[in-house]
């Protein structure tokens, strides 16, 4: 169906694609896997005409074509669904679907005709979408269906999907996969870009593995397994399962009683939540994103005004509900935020400055009674973090902006570990982080637990939250709707609680 030959692409000094060869056979589901920055999306964006390759050629149906713009790709029957949806939020489903391929004449847009066609496609592929709904009122899963419809409306024979499941719940993923299988039955070809090995094995017929801009393997899915794919992706043996001994729990570190958060509009993102975290255990909270996890963690970290809180937060025996973030930190609470760019780092500041955030006013990083920063002490502290947490490049003078997501995350984790916390609040610790670094971060979290720290973990990755946690709570619409034993609970069971609440 499509073949990339010797595709090469540079971004500045970075070689994003180095002589990449991919062959996608018609009527198959083809997975492209690799770590972040391996060049998977770049290669596919070149195939879609979003980027221009410096070298190499693209064959569609056995013939060389020059694909300069998405327009050319669409004309050849190629459609792409991007990781971040390419939808205009303020417009309707129908307007988005027809955009760029409008029915009717130059002087009159015929949306009625479009709606008929959209309904027909909805039937054929079992993609329920209302053509008149406005995008911003739709759920993520529905928006994705609109994206698929956009490609189908343009008679795409080949669909390229970039990390399509990142935003979906486990149930939605199942539904999505059955849509893909239906498309394959109807003769469409699908390319799915992902870094989730379980998905590759579940859905694809063939798989191409990329690392550092190069193709390092092209395999039949039936003839491979997760361990082999992980090894190809990372370039060394990787432990996919977290290794840990049973928790040796101590006394209660954090206790939360009837905590409710009221947002400014009056909505209650967290409703009457109670739980405890003991020393030496990891308590996980699983849930579909946007069900109150963010607000819960921020309430505990002291980032939400006490006037918006009701209930009680205790650390050991002290009531800290009304205390600010600084005192909470001094009491031993550390926080690894879900959005490292918004809450975790000052991107334009260098690593040394970033590595003292939160302790910037205290010894040992200040001198002369707090009037001056002690740069000698700051540098040695930064060095310890960089070495202990394998932050690369290991240069304290670089701005945080230039680090990859994984290295930024390791810097934050190092900084928070450095204060020897009694309680660690950690959200999405491995979001946008490579498998190799994920393994490292997981080992560090388990190590911290074993040293007696209480850890509260929020993650949208079910795999992660079940394998790391000693106990697991499920949150739905701001309420804790259940507790399961992560060693015995199945993904389906947890997924059901996450979406339905009971």
């Amino acid at each position: 169906m499509i073949e990339l030959r010797q595709i090469t692409k540079r971004f500045g000094a970075v070689l994003a694609n180095d002589k990449v060869n991919v062959v996608v056979k018609p009527g198959t589901i083809h997975a492209i896997v690799g770590e972040n920055g391996a060049g998977k999306s770049t290669a596919m964006r070149i195939a879609y005409g979003f980027y221009k390759a410096e070298d190499g050629e693209i064959l569609v149906d056995g013939q060389v074509h020059s694909i300069e713009t998405p327009h050319d790709a669409i004309a050849l029957g190629i459609g792409m669904v991007h990781q971040h949806f390419m939808l205009v939020d303020t417009m309707t489903v129908a307007e988005n679907i027809v955009l760029g391929a409008e029915p009717g004449s130059v002087v009159a847009l015929d949306l009625g005709k479009a709606s008929v066609e959209i309904r027909r496609l909805s039937e054929e592929f079992k993609l329920a979408v209302n053509p008149d709904a406005v995008i911003e009122n739709l759920s993520v899963g529905q928006q994705q269906r609109v994206e698929l419809m956009k490609a189908l409306y343009r008679h795409a024979r080949l669909l390229i999907l970039d990390e399509p499941t990142a935003v979906l719940t486990p149930q939605e993923v199942e539904e999505f996969f059955s849509i893909l299988r239906r498309m394959r039955e109807q003769g469409k070809t699908v390319v799915i870009i992902t870094h989730k090995l379980a998905e590759v094995l579940a859905i694809s017929d063939e798989v191409t593995v990329m690392r550092d801009g190069r193709v390092v393997g092209s395999l039949q899915t039936k003839a491979t397994n997760a361990a082999e794919l992980a090894r190809l992706m990372v370039g060394r043996e990787v432990l996919l399962r977290v290794e840990k001994t049973p928790a040796k729990t101590g006394s209660t570190e954090l206790s939360v009683r009837n905590l409710t958060v009221t947002a400014r509009g009056g909505a209650k993102p967290v409703k009457d939540v109670s739980f405890e975290v003991r020393k030496g255990e990891i308590l996980g909270i699983a849930g579909v994103e946007g069900n109150g996890q963010t607000e819960l963690i921020e309430a505990l970290a002291g980032l939400i005004s006490p006037s918006q809180l009701s209930g009680e937060i205790r650390i050991e025996d002290r009531d800290i509900t009304r205390e600010g973030a600084r005192l909470r930190r001094e009491l031993g609470i550390a926080h690894i935020p879900e959005d490292r760019h918004r809450r975790g780092l000052l991107l334009e500041f260098d690593l040394a400055e970033n590595s003292i955030l939160g302790v910037h006013y205290r010894t040992p990083v200040v001198a002369y009674g707090g009037a001056f920063l002690d740069y000698g002490a700051i540098r040695s502290r930064t060095k310890e973090i960089i070495e202990g947490f394998d932050v690369r490049p290991a240069n304290p003078d670089l701005p945080a902006r230039v680090l990859s997501g994984g290295n930024q995350q390791k810097l934050i984790i190092g900084r928070e570990f450095k204060v020897n916390p009694k309680l660690l609040l950690v959200s999405q610790p491995t979001r946008g982080v490579d498998i190799g670094a994920i393994e490292f971060i997981h080992r560090k979290l388990v190590g911290l637990r074993d040293s007696g720290c209480a850890v509260l973990l929020v993650s949208a990755e079910l795999e992660e939250v079940t394998s790391l946690s000693d106990r697991l709570l499920i949150i739905h619409e701001g309420r804790i709707v259940g507790e399961v034993d992560p060693k015995v609970a199945t993904i389906e069971e947890i997924g059901l609680l996450m979406t339905r609440g009971h």
Binding site: F11, H71, H82, L87, V88, E95, L99, A101, V106, A108
Partner: protein, 296 residues
């Protein structure tokens, strides 16, 4: 007070609103495509000067009007190339154009007419007091139709809201933005031409006196929608008409006239109040002011 509100006030409102409507609808096409158009003022000045100069030289106001449109387009092209091709800051570029257009007409009239700042008087029979008003009246429904009922309008709006999505759908982002900005130059050019060969009979230095900015305010007040924008323009036009009639009529309690400078302030003060009060509830196109760059 009653003597202020008369039939002549209505005519006066329509006359004073016309250049605002023309410029504001122009601004709408530019801003809906994602390019801030603070240069409306400069484009109006270009239109006003060129229309007056050409009408005087050729003796045909229609040729003058077309020339005014052309001048607006030329200025718009400068803005468009700087903002779209070279991704310059749109506010800074627009401001530079406005400053430039305070000087350029004076310089050119000095060269052509040996006067500093204004063009010679145009005979009355060569003025077009009505045509631009009709254009403005027809343009409101036409703009609405173009924006919401044609593929061009859909593409233009998509480019202003989410250019990446538009690009992915095969819409040429830069081309759409050029179209939006050039259209704004054309319409602002007509608005300017109306000032010099419709309302008065010559071009004078800085004769727009901030109307481009008031048009911009009306555009924001009108939420970047044609009909609401027209209503906002009528409100500003009405205010200006009232202030003109107030001169010498409304007196201080002491019996003295209110200084004319204070009366002249009213439309501008109203602009500030309206914008301060309503800007929060008005949602601009999402990509407004952000240059589109394909590969990051």
């Amino acid at each position: 007070m009653t003597e202020i509100f008369t039939i002549s006030l209505i005519w006066s409102t329509i006359r004073l609103s016309t250049p605002l409507i023309l410029a504001a609808l122009g601004g709408m096409f530019s801003e809906r495509s994602g390019v801030i158009n603070i240069a409306l003022e400069g484009m109006m000045l270009a239109g006003a000067f060129t229309a007056a100069a050409v009408t005087y030289a050729v003796g045909s106001p229609f040729v003058g009007l077309v020339a005014g449109m052309g001048a607006g387009i030329v200025i718009a092209a400068i803005h468009a190339i700087a903002c779209i091709r070279y991704r310059a800051d749109q506010v800074v570029t627009g401001t530079a154009i406005n400053i430039l257009m305070i000087g350029v007409p004076g310089f050119l009239s000095g060269a052509f007419f040996l006067s500093s700042g204004s063009t010679p008087q145009i005979p009355k029979e060569h003025l077009i007091p009505w045509t631009p008003i009709w254009i403005a009246v027809l343009l409101v429904p036409l703009s609405w139709y173009v924006l919401y009922k044609t593929p061009f309008g859909l593409r233009l709006r998509s480019v202003g809201e989410n250019p990446e999505a538009a690009d992915a759908a095969g819409v040429p982002v830069a081309r759409m933005r050029y179209a939006g900005v050039l259209l704004s130059g054309l319409l602002a050019g007509i608005g300017g031409a109306y000032l010099s060969i419709g309302q008065s009979s010559l071009f004078t230095r800085n004769m727009t006196s901030g109307r481009g900015f008031i048009a911009l305010a009306a555009l924001i007040f009108g939420k970047w929608r044609p009909v609401q924008t027209m209503l906002a323009c009528l409100l500003f036009g009405l205010t200006e008409a009232v202030t003109i009639q107030m001169q010498g009529v409304v007196k201080l309690p002491s019996g003295e006239d209110i200084p004319v400078q204070f009366i002249h302030m009213v439309p501008y003060v109203l602009t500030i109040i309206v914008l301060a009060g309503f800007i929060g509830s008005s949602r601009p196109p999402k990509a407004l002011g952000i240059p589109y760059q394909k590969e990051r």
